[in-house]
């Protein structure tokens, strides 16, 4: 639990560095605006922007509650008259709500500003609220990916707790990776028709820093819960391999028409097995190499005597 807390604190630090660099998702304006709003109302908001230690994380949740559950449909985000009550909603939270509402219109309108406008309409706002976001729907996609990653983390954490409590068996590495990637890819199923469009938008130069950030943190999460504690170069190779597996499986899923995506899961199984074999082969090669070298040395010593 302490490790989990520290990891979350580290994650906060990562995100707050993103605030300072102003280059990552969510958009810089909104962060700056919410940074100003947060500094202005210290008593309610205890989220630090520059430091994140464990004690900040454990600070009294009473201050946090109004942030996590924005109450009622009155976003007084214009901050008129200095309304700093418990109902105060920052611009970031409002954008979060609009994007979440917009997700249900994606199958119909695609990942576009129109879906965002429809989402805003369901919240009682004008359709012009979609003007807060970029006109190609990038923020919607990044929001969705970020939400999926969060869901995956929660799922993996729950499973880990079960294992710790002894209620479940600890899975072997390949099964664990397979299940994690499958769970994550299953979240795409409701939006699978428009997902190729989303992938192409994520590859736009403007979005690459954010999308890469989200991808690497997700892979890191999976390896963390798989129990990876390596401190040597294998840290990098493991993540690179899993990223490759994830991306190729995602692409296979795009054009898979088998019932229940069976082909995709079989492809995933094969890739993970390949990866395992590769790492076994690598260590075998290494030990064989060592044995060969020792034999040669022995032969050399014999010959020289």
């Amino acid at each position: 639990a302490a490790a989990g807390g520290l990891r979350r604190a580290g994650w906060r630090l990562w995100r707050s560095r993103a605030v300072v660099q102003c280059q990552h998702y969510p958009p810089a304006r909104a962060l700056q605006a919410s940074a100003v709003l947060r500094r202005a109302s210290d008593e309610h908001k205890k989220e630090p922007l520059t430091s994140s230690s464990q004690q900040h994380f454990d600070s009294p949740p009473a201050g946090h509650q109004p942030e996590q559950e924005p109450q009622g449909p009155h976003p007084s985000y214009t901050g008129q008259g200095g309304q700093e009550s418990e109902d105060y909603e920052s611009e970031e939270q409002l954008q979060h709500r609009i994007l979440t509402a917009a997700l249900e219109f994606v199958p119909e309108h695609g990942w576009t500003a129109e879906a965002i406008a429809e989402g805003a309409k369901t919240l009682g706002l004008s359709v012009a609220a979609a003007g807060m976001f970029h006109s190609d729907g990038s923020e919607l996609i990044l929001h969705f990916v970020s939400e999926c990653n969060t869901k995956l983390s929660k799922l993996l954490e729950k499973e880990q707790k079960l294992v710790q409590l002894g209620e479940a068996e600890k899975k072997p590495i390949d099964e664990f990776l397979r299940d994690a990637v499958e769970a994550r890819l299953r979240m795409l199923i409701p939006y699978i028709e428009k997902w190729p469009q989303a992938l192409s938008v994520l590859l736009l130069p403007r979005n690459i820093p954010s999308s890469l950030n989200l991808l690497t943190s997700m892979i890191d999460d999976i390896w963390h819960y798989a129990g990876d504690q390596s401190t040597d170069f294998s840290w990098y190779t493991r993540r690179a391999v899993l990223t490759g597996i994830y991306n190729t499986t995602e692409l296979v899923m795009m054009q898979d028409s088998s019932p229940g995506f069976e082909d995709t899961w079989r492809f995933l199984e094969n890739r993970v097995a390949d990866a395992m074999t590769m790492s076994n082969t690598a260590s075998q090669v290494q030990s064989t190499g060592e044995a060969v070298v020792q034999g040669l040395m022995g032969a050399a010593v014999t010959v020289s005597n």
């Binding site: 500003a113 805003a120 009682g124 706002l125 004008s126 359709v127 012009a128 609220a129 979609a130 003007g131």
Partner: protein, 232 residues
Amino acid sequence: CRCRALLSRPAGALRARRGLAAGPEMHFGFQTVTEEERREKIYQVFESVAKKYDVMNDSMTLGIHRVWKDILVHKMNPCPGTLLLDVAGGTGDIAFRFINYVRSVRQRQLQRKLKHHQNLSWQEIFESYQKDQFNSLGGSQVVICDINREMLKVGKQKAQHLGYSEGLSWVLGNAEELPFDDDKFDVYTIAFGIRNVTRIDLALQEAYRVLKPGGRFLCLEFSHVSNPLLSR
């Protein structure tokens, strides 16, 4: 030149000289006048210039005002069904651009709908025609509001001449006191108009009042040029 009207000059010294004038002092070009006089003067200027307003714009800005107005509508990125209030919209430049934009967006929408309709039965296609889904503007509307009757007249003639018939309304009104209910519009635009408003704070309050929650306020105006060469 109207664009210099916003440059401020020390009001203190001038106020001492004017002594007996009634009401707060304001600027009109390079003169100093009261609020009422300013309104009158602006009204007269636009009344006399109404017929040649577009030509005047072109000559003063060398045609680049068209680009600016196009950029404004692009930034607005309206979807069909948007209600626009164009204040100080006089001859209707923004309104016409808005209608063109919404029409093309609607075209694309309808094309996409028709593609989906490829495998519908005749009954379903008949029903969709009944629901009158295929109107070209998708329910979008513009209300052009101006304080000057002459400018509105010129605007109406232009609309007729260019063939814009549906989705436009022309209303005579003062930006400081709009004749509309609360929470009605999705977008409020004011292009090169806010400098002619005598009490800008009232105009902004009115804008806030008539806009729906989540609505957008777009203001197009001249500003200081940061490049020292160009600012001469």
